[in-house]
Symmetry: C2
Subunit: 502 residues, 2 copies
C-alpha cells in the first residue's frame, strides 16, 4: 500500500542526507507539517505501513511519531490512529517564518529513544481529584488541624540536623514507629533499620530496579497492572514482561521456566487494578519459585489498610522467614498523596548497600516531615484516621456496589472485585470501548480510568485487554455518589448509542 | 603471581558448579571469610591478579569485591587495597552456625553489577552538619518563624487539590514567583511554564539523562566535579567522561572532536569544587560548540546567589536566545537542604514531553510545600533572607581566608577560588594525603571533604588528582571559625608528622 505521505517523505528524505534516520525522518515530517505539505487533520499512515514504504525499522517511525506528538504536531485519536494537529505548537507559531524555512532546526537535538518511549507509553493522568478518580483517598477528611499542630510544634525549635541533607534511610523515630505499626497491622517482621523511606513508591521501584536488576534482564509484571511500575522498570532498561492474573492473583506457570525473571512485581493484598486477593497457596508457590529461581519479589501493598470484611492474609514479607521479598508501603492512601512518602522494607543483607545508593542517587532530606509523621503515628492519630477512613470507604463502596447492582446488574461488577481498597472495576461489554466512555464522562464532569489502559500494549499471548472502568469511590462524599453515578450511566448510554449508528 | 587466596578459591570454585561465575565466586569468597579460611585483616589479591589466576573476567571480580564490601565482609584502605573485615556483618554473627555451613545461601541473589558499581563509587557523606562541612548553608539562620507561619496559614484550609497527586511541573504560583525572581537576579529568560519543579537537583539530572541521552552515549563532566551528577548519569548507563577544568572553567578542545558528547554538565557560575568562574569567551565558545555538535548543556547554578564581590556573569541560559541549555537551580542552599526542592528551566519545545515523563516516572505532589515557598518568595522573605545570608557568608569567608593567609600562607588558598559560594579549597602539598587529614580532623570533631575524592577515579589523560580540602564556612558561626581552624591545623600537623616517620 502506497500512501501520499509516504511518497512525499521518500522525496524529502532523499534531499536530506545528514544525520541518523530518526532525525532525518523527524525533520522531514515536521517541515512537511509546518509548510502545509501535510495538511491539518490528515491521518498519518500506520507506523508499520510507513516503515515498510520507506524501508526502515518500524521502531524508528514509532519513535518519530511519539516525538511529534509530545511536541504537539500530531495527536492520536482513540482507536483510529495519528492525525496532524490543527493548532501547531506555540513556539513555532510565534516564530513561524523561521520555522517554515526548510532545514530550520530546533534548539538542541530531539528526545532520546528511551525518552520518547516514556512519553509515548505515559499513563499518568493530569486529573487527580473528584468522582470517580481511582487511587485517590478523601483528603478533605484528613485531620489537618492535628497534623498542622504537630508541624508547627516541630518548627518552633527545628534542630539543624532535621533541616540539612540526610543519610541512612530516613529519620530513625519514624522508622521505629512504622516498624511497630507494621508488626501489629501487617505481620511484618522487621527491625527499624530495614525500613528505607522514599519519595513515593516510584523512587523505591527505581532503586530496586537499579540495585538488583541489570538493563536487559526480565521483570514480571501483572497484566493488567500498575502503569507506574511498568514505566519505572522500563526507564531502567528492564524488560517488563506482562503476565496474566486470575482470581488468585498473578498466574504462575506449571511448566519449568526457560528464562526466569530477576524481579517479580506483585500486588498480593489487592491486585491492581482488578482486585483479586492472592491465595495462600499461590503465595507459598510464588515464594518457592522465587527461591528456586534466585529472584526477588517486589510486594506492593499499596492499599491493604482498607479491607472492609474479613482479615487480611499475611503479607509475603512476613509469611516465611528470610523470604526473598522487598515490601513496598505508602502513606499516599492513608494520609495524603501529595505528602510523597513511602517506604521499602528490605532484607537485612541489602540494607547497607541500599542506604548508600539511596543517598548517592537521590540525596535524602525531608526529616521535618518525617518527624511530623512519626509524632502523628506515635500519638495514635494515624491508626485512628485509618480506622475511621476504613469505615467511611466501606460505606461508600457499599453504596456504589448497590447502585451498580440495581441500575446495571450484579454481573457488571468485575468478578475478582474484593471488599477492599479505594476503587472497584466495572466490566463493560466488549462492544463498548472504555476510552470512549471515559471521554464522555469527562465531558460531563465525571472522572474514571479505562481498564484497557492498564493492560500491556503488546501482551505476549494471553487474553486481549478487557473493556471496563476503574471507579474510585474513596474521594466521593456519600451525598454525591448517586448523582455522579447517574452521569456515568448517561455517558455509558451515549457511547452505546454512538456505536449503534451506521 | 600465585596467591594463597587464589589457590583456595580455585579449589572451592571447582566444588561449586551451579549458577553464574559471579555468584559462585561471591559464595566461595564469603564462605571462606566466614569459616576463617581467609583470616580477618588478610589483604585480598588485586582484582586484576585474581581474575588472571582464576581465568575469569576482571569485571566479575570487581563486582564481587564491591558486593562483599557493601555487605561489610571487607573494607578498603586508602591506596592499599581490600582487606577482610575484622568484624563481620551482624546478621551472620547472630546466626553464625547457619552461615558457617558451607553452601548456605543468603536470601535472594546478589546486587546487580550496576548496583554494586553505584555502591562502590558512592561519595555521599553521612555527615551533613558542622564545621567545615562544604555545601551546607547555615540552616539555624533560616527565618523559621516566618516560614512556619506561612505553612500554618495554608494548613488552616488546605484545598484538596494541594493534597492529592499533582501533574504538570509543580504549583503554577511558585513557578510564576520563581520566573520573576530569576529574571531579576539571574537574567533568565523564561515563562513560568518552562520551569519544572523537582525533588532536588538529582531528580532533574535523572530526568534529563533519560529524556535526552541513550544508555551508552557520552556526557562530559568536569574533573574535578560534582560526584552526584556523575553517579546519576552513570546510573542511567551514560558514559560520564571527565574533562579537565582550568581558571576559565571547563577546558574546551581546540581540535575537532571525533565523538562529541550528547550532554555537557557544567557549573559556570562557580566551578564545583575548585571555584573558577567560566569566562564570557568560554561561555560563548561552549554554546557554539554545543550548537555545532547538537548537544545539550546542563548548567548547574547551585550557589550563584552567594557572590560577595562584583557582578555575576549572565548564566548560559540567558546569554543567547534559544540556547541549547537546561538550567538547574535549587532551594537547598538558599532555604534549607532538607526541603528537597529544585527546578529545571527547560527550552519550550521540551516542556510538554518533560512534564509527561516527570509525572510518569516520579509522580508529583508536595503542592502544600510549593504554596508555602511561593508565599515566602512573593512576600519578599526569600530575597531578604538571601541578601542577609550573602553578607553573613561573605564575612565568614573573609575570616577563614584571613586565617589561612596568616597561619599557612596565601599560596595554600586554591588559585581558582573566587569570592563566592559556601566553601573554598585549601591546597595541600602532594606529600600530605587529603583523605588522611580528613580522617584526622574527623577524629577531632571537624568535618571536611578531600579534594582528591572529587576527581574521577579513572581520568583519561590530564593531570592526576590534587590533594586538598574543601572547607565549608557557611555553616560555621563566626565565634567558632578560629577555634575549629586550629583543630584543622593540628590534624594537618599530625598527618605531616606521621608521614615523616620511617
Amino acid at each position: 500500500m502506497r500512501t501520499i505521505t509516504g511518497d512525499l517523505l521518500l522525496l524529502r528524505l532523499g534531499e536530506s542526507s545528514d544525520g541518523p534516520m530518526n532525525q532525518r525522518l523527524y525533520r522531514c515530517l515536521r517541515e512537511a507539517i509546518l509548510d502545509g505539505s501535510i495538511a491539518a487533520d490528515t491521518r498519518l499512515p500506520a507506523s508499520r505501513d510507513l516503515a515498510a514504504e520507506l524501508g526502515i525499522a518500524r521502531n524508528t517511525v514509532v519513535h518519530v511519531y511519539a516525538q511529534l506528538q509530545a511536541e504537539g504536531y500530531t495527536r492520536s485519536r482513540q482507536g483510529s490512529g495519528t492525525y496532524v494537529a490543527d493548532t501547531l505548537p506555540d513556539d513555532y507559531l510565534a516564530s513561524g517564518r523561521r520555522a517554515r524555512q526548510v532545514g530550520a532546526r530546533p534548539a538542541g537535538p530531539s528526545l532520546s529513544v528511551r525518552g520518547a518511549r516514556i512519553v509515548d507509553g505515559a499513563s499518568a493522568s493530569p486529573f487527580q481529584w473528584g468522582a470517580f478518580m481511582p487511587g485517590v483517598p478523601d483528603v478533605t477528611e484528613f485531620p489537618h488541624r492535628k497534623f498542622s499542630r504537630i508541624v508547627s510544634s516541630i518548627w518552633r525549635r527545628p534542630p539543624a540536623q532535621l533541616l540539612t541533607y540526610a543519610y541512612g534511610g530516613g529519620l530513625p523515630a519514624l522508622r521505629e514507629a512504622l516498624a511497630q505499626h507494621l508488626a501489629l497491622t501487617r505481620s511484618i517482621d522487621c527491625d527499624p533499620e530495614q525500613i528505607l523511606l522514599t519519595e513515593g513508591v516510584h523512587q523505591g521501584i527505581d532503586l530496586i530496579s537499579r540495585m538488583l536488576c541489570e538493563a536487559g534482564e526480565v521483570a514480571w509484571i501483572e497484566n493488567p497492572g500498575y502503569w507506574g511500575a511498568r514505566s519505572v522498570l522500563q526507564a531502567n532498561g528492564i524488560r517488563a514482561v506482562p503476565r496474566a492474573v486470575d482470581e488468585e492473583g498473578l498466574h504462575l506457570p506449571s511448566e519449568p521456566v526457560q528464562a526466569p525473571p530477576r524481579l517479580v512485581f506483585v500486588t498480593p493484598s489487592h491486585q491492581y487494578p482488578l482486585g483479586a486477593v492472592m491465595s495462600l497457596a499461590r503465595r507459598r508457590r510464588l515464594l518457592a519459585l522465587a527461591r528456586q529461581w534466585g529472584s526477588w519479589i517486589i510486594e506492593d501493598d499499596y492499599d491493604s489498610e482498607f479491607r472492609f470484611t474479613g482479615r487480611p492474609i499475611p503479607c509475603l514479607q512476613g509469611l516465611e522467614s528470610d523470604a526473598p521479598v522487598i515490601y513496598l508501603g505508602t502513606f499516599s492512601k492513608t494520609m495524603y498523596p501529595g505528602l510523597r512518602l513511602a517506604y521499602l522494607v528490605l532484607p537485612k543483607r541489602l540494607v547497607k548497600a541500599f542506604q548508600a545508593a539511596h543517598a548517592e542517587l537521590y540525596r535524602e532530606g525531608h526529616l521535618m516531615t518525617h518527624a511530623a509523621v512519626a509524632a502523628f503515628i506515635s500519638e495514635g492519630h494515624y491508626a485512628a484516621h485509618v480506622r475511621r477512613m476504613r469505615m467511611l470507604y466501606g460505606r461508600r463502596r457499599a453504596m456504589l456496589v448497590n447502585l451498580i447492582e440495581r441500575r446495571l446488574g450484579v454481573d457488571w461488577l468485575h468478578r475478582d472485585s474484593s471488599d477492599a481498597g479505594l476503587h472497584l472495576v466495572l466490566d463493560l461489554p466488549d462492544e463498548i470501548p472504555d476510552e470512549a466512555v471515559v471521554q464522555a464522562a469527562h465531558a460531563r464532569g465525571v472522572l474514571t480510568r479505562p481498564l484497557s489502559r492498564y493492560y500491556d500494549a503488546a501482551p505476549q499471548g494471553g487474553e486481549p485487554p478487557r473493556q471496563g472502568l476503574l471507579l474510585g469511590y474513596a474521594c466521593v462524599p456519600e451525598a454525591d455518589i448517586a448523582r455522579k453515578f447517574e452521569v456515568l450511566l448517561d455517558s455509558l448510554a451515549y457511547v452505546a448509542r454512538q456505536r449503534k449508528r451506521p
